[in-house]
Amino acid sequence: MKILLAEDDPSIQLVAKLSLQKIGGHDVTTASDGQEAIDKAMVTKFDLIILDGMMPVMDGFQTCQELKLREETKDIPIIFLTAKNQQSDIDEGYRLGGIGYIVKPFDARELCEEVNKFFGKILWKQQA
């Protein structure tokens, strides 16, 4: 599966990328801020976009809003991967169109399990 991972912290970006590649076996493209994520999503068709909550230039929530407004990207499922653990933040993530919400710090195996779970849901929906 082609995943776009938007994360500004290089260490977390690397860990998450390696986890998704090595454990989950996914094809991962990275972006360091919201705008870069939008630019890349406009060029390449991704199966899933993972957005960090707090990023420079454009944060994850704004990026999600922007992606949902564009014809080319509005149907791509979005998962938030963020340190914001308040119920209000989680609710906001779902309200903006996210299909999942993973709170940092995350376990590499759990991250992949969650991602696979979402892919399972997507596949099940597509088959249905």
Partner: protein, 481 residues
């Protein structure tokens, strides 16, 4: 201090001054009015006397005329003439006597009257009588003149008295208007303004419009109130700023602390997954220790942030009605692993009532999980932990967790809910917690306006309990449904 005291007494002094001026003006007017009335009364008395006098003199004139007719009338016999004339003379004499009494101290008029009386006594003929009549007539004319003058005086005095009474009414009307205006401007208007501002202040508007105040007691009260409002506004602003700083700190701390932990935890779990390269047993053991301690550090960070958020009221409660037994069952279910590992059993007490409470379900669950997991950790193997629910008709729900652990010394019981203290106090037992579990429980229950506490006896066990308001019983019917 002196200025303040002067300002404080200003209204009182002004009122005193106003009343003094009013008193002086009315007193002066009163003196004039009194004099005028006195004059009026004297003139009236004089006029009465004068009128009486003119009547008497008029009578004398008439009697003299009749006497002169009698004296000369040939048809009257001498006997009755003499008799009648004597009667006339007696009457005339009496009248003269009375008139002289009325004239009294007025020498000029007395002498004149005496002269007339003498002329009358000496007059023996009709002609002489007529001469006396002319003198009386002249006196009468002068008396009429005097009476007219007295009448004029009465008239003038009456007009003056009326004028002074009118001045009185005028003064009182002006005083009334002035006083009402004075009270309106200096007392009622500032008080009503102050009252409006107080209502606004009470409603939470601390930025009141600046205005000038009267230099008096009420102005002083107003200015002090405004100073107070300004101080409150300043404090509120400071508190808001502090609140903003707290929120910013929480947000920053949450992000800054979690970011490095994410890299560490993620990396460790990735290496441990064995998907990068094979891990030797020694390395794996070390990595597991690192992972366990990382998790502990993350728990500590989460607990500190949670506690800070609750204490700063930055963790809003999502309150809903839910059956308490649901939460108890969920918590017991989630702790099954721990029960199995420790060999401790859990009982929901038979007396436990089935009720619903209005609270944040996740937070109540968090508190109960904490209390129950502590009870399990401290219970000897094979013993029971009891969970009880009590319902008070006023809606107060009490949830208790009773263990048969070692118990807590009385002197330590008060410190169990203090940050990082419970961990020290329980160091005889191997504790894996952060030392913030019970303080978080306390903060969460207090955020619900409930209470938390414990009862314990060394060697017997401990009961931790919390109470929550807003409970209601579930009827058997709805429970069955």
């Amino acid at each position: 201090m002196e200025t303040a005291s002067l300002r404080r007494n200003k209204l009182q002094r002004q009122l005193k001054r106003l009343l003094l001026v009013l008193f002086v003006i009315t007193s002066i007017n009163g003196v004039f009015l009194w004099k005028t009335l006195d004059q009026l009364f004297s003139s009236y008395q004089l006029a009465t006397k004068s009128q009486h006098l003119t009547t008497l003199v008029g009578d004398i004139e008439l009697l003299l005329y009749e006497e002169s007719i009698f004296r000369e009338d040939p048809e009257i016999d001498e006997d009755s003439r003499g008799h009648r004339l004597a009667e006339f003379r007696r009457n005339i004499k009496n009248n003269f006597k009375e008139v002289l009494k009325i004239v009294g101290a007025d020498k000029k008029r007395t002498n004149r009257l005496k002269d007339i009386q003498n002329s009358w006594i000496q007059a023996k003929t009709m002609h002489a009588n007529r001469q006396v009549l002319i003198l009386v007539n002249s006196f009468m004319k002068d008396e009429y003149e005097i009476l007219r003058e007295i009448d004029d005086g009465v008239h003038k005095s009456t007009n003056a008295a009326l004028a002074f009474i009118a001045i009185y009414i005028g003064i009182f009307s002006i005083a009334l208007v002035t006083l009402s205006q004075y009270f309106k401007r200096r007392v009622f208007q500032p008080l009503s303004r102050l009252s409006d501002d107080m209502v606004e202040f009470q409603a939470g508007s601390f930025q009141l419009t600046a205005r000038t105040f009267n230099q008096d007691e009420i102005g002083h009260l107003e200015s002090k109130f405004y100073e107070m409002a300004e101080r409150v506004a300043y404090t509120v602003e400071e508190l808001k700023e502090l609140d903003r700083v707290k929120t910013d700190f929480l947000s920053l701390a949450s992000h800054e602390l979690r970011t490095p932990m994410t890299s560490v935890k993620g990396s460790l779990s990735l290496i441990l997954s064995g998907n990068l390269s094979e891990v030797t047993p020694d390395v794996k053991e070390l990595l597991l220790i690192s992972e366990k301690e990382t998790d502990r550090l993350i728990r500590l960070i989460n607990d500190i942030l949670d506690l800070t958020k609750i204490e700063a009221h930055k963790m809003p409660l999502v309150k809903n009605w839910f059956p308490l037994t649901d939460v108890i069952e969920t918590v017991i279910e989630s702790l099954q692993g721990l029960f199995k590992a420790t060999g401790v059993k859990v009982n929901i007490e038979a007396s436990a009532v089935n009720c619903e409470i209005l609270a944040d379900k996740d937070r109540v669950q968090q508190v109960l999980t904490n209390l129950l997991s502590n009870a399990i950790k401290f219970s000897p193997k094979g013993t029971d932990v009891n969970v009880g629910v009590d319902f008070n008709p006023k809606g107060l729900v009490t949830v208790s967790v009773r263990d048969k652990g070692p118990g807590i010394k009385e002197e330590d019981q008060d410190h169990m809910f203090e940050k990082f203290r419970s961990k020290d106090l329980g160091k005889s037992k191997i504790m894996k917690g952060t030392g913030l579990g019970l303080p978080i429980c306390k903060a969460l229950i207090e955020e619900h306006e409930g209470t938390i506490g414990l009862e314990s006896e060394v060697g017997v066990g401990s009961t931790f309990f919390f109470t929550l308001p807003n409970g209601k019983m579930i009827s058997r019917k709805s429970k069955a449904a």
